[in-house]
Symmetry: none
Subunit: 213 residues, 4 copies
Amino acid sequence: MRTENGTERIDQVPEKPLTALKQQERDARRRLILDAARHLFAEKDFRSVTVREIARAAGVSIGTIYNYYENLTELFLDVFLKSAEDILARIDNEEDSPHSSLSHLCGIYIDFLNENMTFYQMMGHFMLGGELSPEGVEKLNRMMRSLMDRLESAVVGSGTKKNPRLVSHALFSALNGIMITYARYPGRDAAEISRHTRRLASIIGDVFEACAH
Amino acid sequence: MRTENGTERIDQVPEKPLTALKQQERDARRRLILDAARHLFAEKDFRSVTVREIARAAGVSIGTIYNYYENLTELFLDVFLKSAEDILARIDNEEDSPHSSLSHLCGIYIDFLNENMTFYQMMGHFMLGGELSPEGVEKLNRMMRSLMDRLESAVVGSGTKKNPRLVSHALFSALNGIMITYARYPGRDAAEISRHTRRLASIIGDVFEACAH
Amino acid sequence: MRTENGTERIDQVPEKPLTALKQQERDARRRLILDAARHLFAEKDFRSVTVREIARAAGVSIGTIYNYYENLTELFLDVFLKSAEDILARIDNEEDSPHSSLSHLCGIYIDFLNENMTFYQMMGHFMLGGELSPEGVEKLNRMMRSLMDRLESAVVGSGTKKNPRLVSHALFSALNGIMITYARYPGRDAAEISRHTRRLASIIGDVFEACAH
Amino acid sequence: MRTENGTERIDQVPEKPLTALKQQERDARRRLILDAARHLFAEKDFRSVTVREIARAAGVSIGTIYNYYENLTELFLDVFLKSAEDILARIDNEEDSPHSSLSHLCGIYIDFLNENMTFYQMMGHFMLGGELSPEGVEKLNRMMRSLMDRLESAVVGSGTKKNPRLVSHALFSALNGIMITYARYPGRDAAEISRHTRRLASIIGDVFEACAH
DNA sequence: TATGAATGAGGATTCATTCAT
DNA sequence: CATGAATGAATCCTCATTCAT
C-alpha cells in the first residue's frame, strides 16, 4: 500500500501488532512535526524557518527531526505533498456534487491557494530550481500529475473538442499564474486579494468553458 | 526625469558638465555591476549568488556594490526591473507590426520568460513574500502595471465585450502560470520546455481571443 | 583466568552449564561486534566510523553494543588488542622456525602493519593522546610490553653485547616509525609501499643485528 | 620567492609600498592566528580545538580565521609546516658546529619532538589518513623531503658504504618511531620520557653510525 | 538482555554588511 | 569614492549515549 505522496507505510500483518503499534507512533510523531512546521509556515516565509524553530514548535528535539526527515528540504517537500493531498481530497469531494463546472473547480483550487499560500510558495520554490533529491523530484511530479488528472477529467467533462490534455495543461497553468501575479497586490488585504483572485479564476474558468464549445 | 524602473537619475544642468560626466561614470559603473549580476544569474540560481561573486564578476570591490545599492535585495530588484524594461521594449516594438494578435503577444512574452528564467524566478521571489522596502514594492508594482497596460491594450484591440482590465488580469495571470507549472517538467530539456510552454501560451492566447467575440 | 588482552571472562564452573552457555553466547555476540568493526575499519578510517554503522554491520542494535562495551573507545581498544593478539600469535609461530633472525622478525612485523593499517592507526591514536580510561591505559601498556618481550627475546638471541632491553626498545621504535613516515608516500600504491617499508624494515633489522657483534 | 612551506609571499616591488605594507599586515595577522593556535595545541589535543577557541585566543573573529585559511585543516597544516621550519632551522644551525655526528643530529630531532608534541601528533594525523587537499599533500611531502635531505647529508657525512637514501629513510623512520612508541610511557612524567627517548635516539644514532663502517 | 528513538550540545562554515584607510 | 578585511550571528546537521519498553 502506498499513500498518495509516496510515503511508505508498511502494512502490518496482525501477527506483528507490536510493530504495527510502533509504526503508528512513528506516523503520529511524523505528523506532529509536519503540523508544527505547517503552522510555522503560516506565520513566516517557510524559507526562513529554522530546524530549531520547528523542533521547538513540535515539542521535540532537533535530532528527532532528523530521525524522520533526511534534511529540511525533505520536510518541506512533505509539507507540500500533504497540502497537495488536501486539495486533491477537496476536489474529489466536490466532484460528486452536481454543479461541477470547470469554473467551479477553478474556484475551489484558487480558494485553496488563498488559504494555503505556503503550498503555493513551495510549488514555486520546488518548480523553479529548489534543490531536490531525485526521489523528491519524482514525488513532486507524481503529485503535479495527480492534480492535472483531476483537471483533465473536468475538461473532458466540459465536452471540449480540443486536445483535453493540452487544454488542461493550459488551464492548470492559468490558475497557478493567478497567485504569482496577485498574491502581493499592493494595498489590498487578504480578503480583497481572495475576492479578486477568485474572480479571475472564475473568468478563466468561463473562458475555457466557453471555448470548449 | 525618471527612468521606467524608477531609478532616480539626478538631472544634470548643462552648467555643470563635470558633474554630468561623473554621473555618466556612475551610471556606467552601476550598469557594470548590473550586467555582471545578470550574467551570473544565468549560470546559477540568483538566490545562491553572493556579493563576493558579483563583485568579482564586475571587477569591482564589494564595498563599491554597496555604494550603488543599499543592499543585495535592491540589486536583485534592479536586475528584475531591467529585465522588465527589456520585455516592455520588445512588446512595444512588436506592437507596431501588423499581425499583433493576442496569441502573438503571448508568444513573445513566453519566449522572453524562457530566455530569462531569472526574471521569472525573481518575479516569484518578490511576489511571494521576498522582503522588500516600501520603495521596492512601489517600483515592483509600477512595473507590473506597465506590463499589464501593454496586455490591456492588446485585449482592447481584440475587441472583447468584457471588462478589459479584468480580462487582461486573467490573461497575464495565465501566462505567468505557465512557467511555474512547466519550468521543471521532468525529463525535458530547455528546447522541449520552450516548445511546450509556447504551445500552451498559444492555446491560452487563442482561448482568450476566441472568447472575446 | 584472563585472556591476553585483559578481557574479564568470568570462569564458569561445570555445575552451571546453563550459565556457561549464556556466557558462550555473550562471547559470540561480542566477537560478532568486534569483527564487524574490524571489517568496517578496513574500508574507512576508524575515527570516522559511527556506532550506527557498526551496529548495522554487526546486525545488532546500537543499544546492544553498549551492553558489551562501555563506550566507543573501549570497542576501539578491543579491536586494537585483538589485532595485537594476532601479531603476537604470528610472531610466536615463527619463533619456532629455524631462520628466526632479527631481520626476519622485523619483516613479519612490518608485513602485519601493512595488512593491518587500522592497528597502526589505533596505536598512533592511543599512544598520542587519545582519551582512555585508566583500565584502558593499563591494557594498552600490557599489550605493548608483550610485543616488546618478543622483540627482546630476539635481540637477546642475536647475541648483542649491549643492554637488550634498551636495544629492543630502540628496535621496536624504529619499526613503528616506518609506517608513520611512509604510509602516505606520495604517488605509490599499497604494493609499492609494502615493498618499500619491508626493505626499510630489513635494513633496520640488519643494522641492529650487525651492531650486536 | 617561496618560503619553505610553500606559502606564496608575493614580492613587493618598491613602486607599490602600500601593497607591501598591506601584505606585511596580512602576514602579521596570519602569524597571530598561527601562534594562537600553536599555544592552544600545547594545552590540549589539536584535534579537539575548535575554531571558536582559536579565534578567541587570537583575539580575532571566527570569520577572520576563514579569511586566512580555507578551513581548519589548512590551518592545522600550516602549524605543522611552521613547526617543521623550526626544526629545519635548528638542524641547519647545528650543522655548522663541529661535533655534528649522526647521533647528535638524532638527539636534536628527538628533543624537538619532545618539545613539540603537537608537531608529531600532526605528523601522525596527516601521514595516517587525515583528509588533506592535493595542495596540502604536496606541501606536506615537500616538507618531509626537506627533513629527509638533512638526514641524508648527515648519513653521507658519516661515510656509510650503503645506499645513503635508503639508510636515511630507515634512520628517519626509526627516529619517528620513538615517539609513537614511548610518548605515553605509563607512569612517567615528561622529563623522564624526554630522557628515555633521547637515550633511544642516541642508541639508534650509534647503531646507524657504527654500521656505516 | 535487546532495542532503537530521542536527545541536544556542539561542530564547521557562510555571508551580508560595515567602516577605517 | 573605492577598497576589502573584519565581523559574528546564524545556519544545518552529526552522533555518542541514554533509557523506556
